[in-house]
Subunit: 186 residues, 2 copies
């Protein structure tokens, strides 16, 4: 992998999870940098809307996710609270060492989308994340770090999640992971 | 293929073309019914918007399409007139015999998305479609037929193009053709 590849995700986004599963399983993508950002901020800055804003899309999404998680052999439970506020969870990831982010993100994705637990709840997060990270989520510097990552992604063209950059080239959506792999194998 | 599979498309939609390429090449999908509908009507009825309504999405789409057409080894030219009015072309397809639709649709897709010709222009259409079909595009019964197909797709849950139905189950987007094939291989 000669070019830098960055994977921007938010654990509130089920399609980010579907991408994370593919990225985590891919030999070509094992050096990807996992980069937390805040999807709410991306929507606000880009003028984009969550898919569930259109009723027919929302109804379809439930089926689509069921099929995708089945295809990738991953347990799927629609969370009791959706969308939840992922800000604390994403700030904690922003506080983590780069080498820790992948494992912690997969644990959060699994808790929210495979088990349906409310990761917007601090008590739930305390069972998943190290206490020091959770404490750091309230630091101003950490809040700024997540905001800066979000602004950076938007400035580079992102309008939703997941967003993958190969160098400066944006690939949007879990359904484009194959094109990222194709570009890297190129 | 024990279940009925229907492929709803509009030739104005590049992602419909990317789906059409996959459907046309798939052994599993050779008995698919190619069903013309009018994307403008689908957007209007479902409250959905074309992707280019969000500026960052529009900029991304140009790159995304370039990559997809390259991946599928198909020539790609962004049309001089986009979006064009595909109503006459789609009405002509609605007037065609079911067995003719696939070949005519592929000819229209290729003219618009591979060669960049304006298929909203009657003179351009006259070079692609049989004269009798083009004449029938003005018949009230044909207009109604296209409108009925559009309304039917929306009533069954469609909110964009391409939309594929396996029995009553909707699959949206060229990136879900693999799931249609997966479902049929069961």
């Amino acid at each position: 992998m000669s070019q830098k590849v960055e994977f921007f995700f938010d654990v509130v986004s089920p399609y980010s999870y579907v991408a994370a599963i593919q990225v985590a399983r891919s030999d070509v993508l094992k050096d990807v940098e996992w980069r937390p950002f805040f999807l709410g901020g991306v929507f606000k800055a880009s003028g984009n809307q969550a898919p569930i804003s259109v009723p027919a899309k929302g109804r379809y999404m439930a089926q689509d996710l069921k099929r995708l998680f089945a295809y990738y052999d991953t347990a799927y439970t629609f969370p009791a609270v959706f969308p939840t506020n992922s800000l604390m969870a994403m700030r904690a990831l922003a506080a983590a060492e780069p080498s820790q982010v992948k494992a912690l993100a997969l644990a959060l994705f699994s808790a929210y989308w495979s088990e349906g637990k409310n990761i917007g709840d601090a008590a739930v997060l305390a069972d998943i994340l190290p206490a020091d990270l959770l404490a750091q989520a309230s630091d101003e510097a950490v809040k700024e770090k997540l905001k800066a990552a979000t602004d950076e992604a938007v400035a580079r063209g992102a309008f939703g999640a997941p967003s993958i950059f190969v160098g400066d080239d944006l690939y949007f959506g879990e359904d484009r992971v194959f094109l990222v792999e194709h570009a890297l194998k190129g």
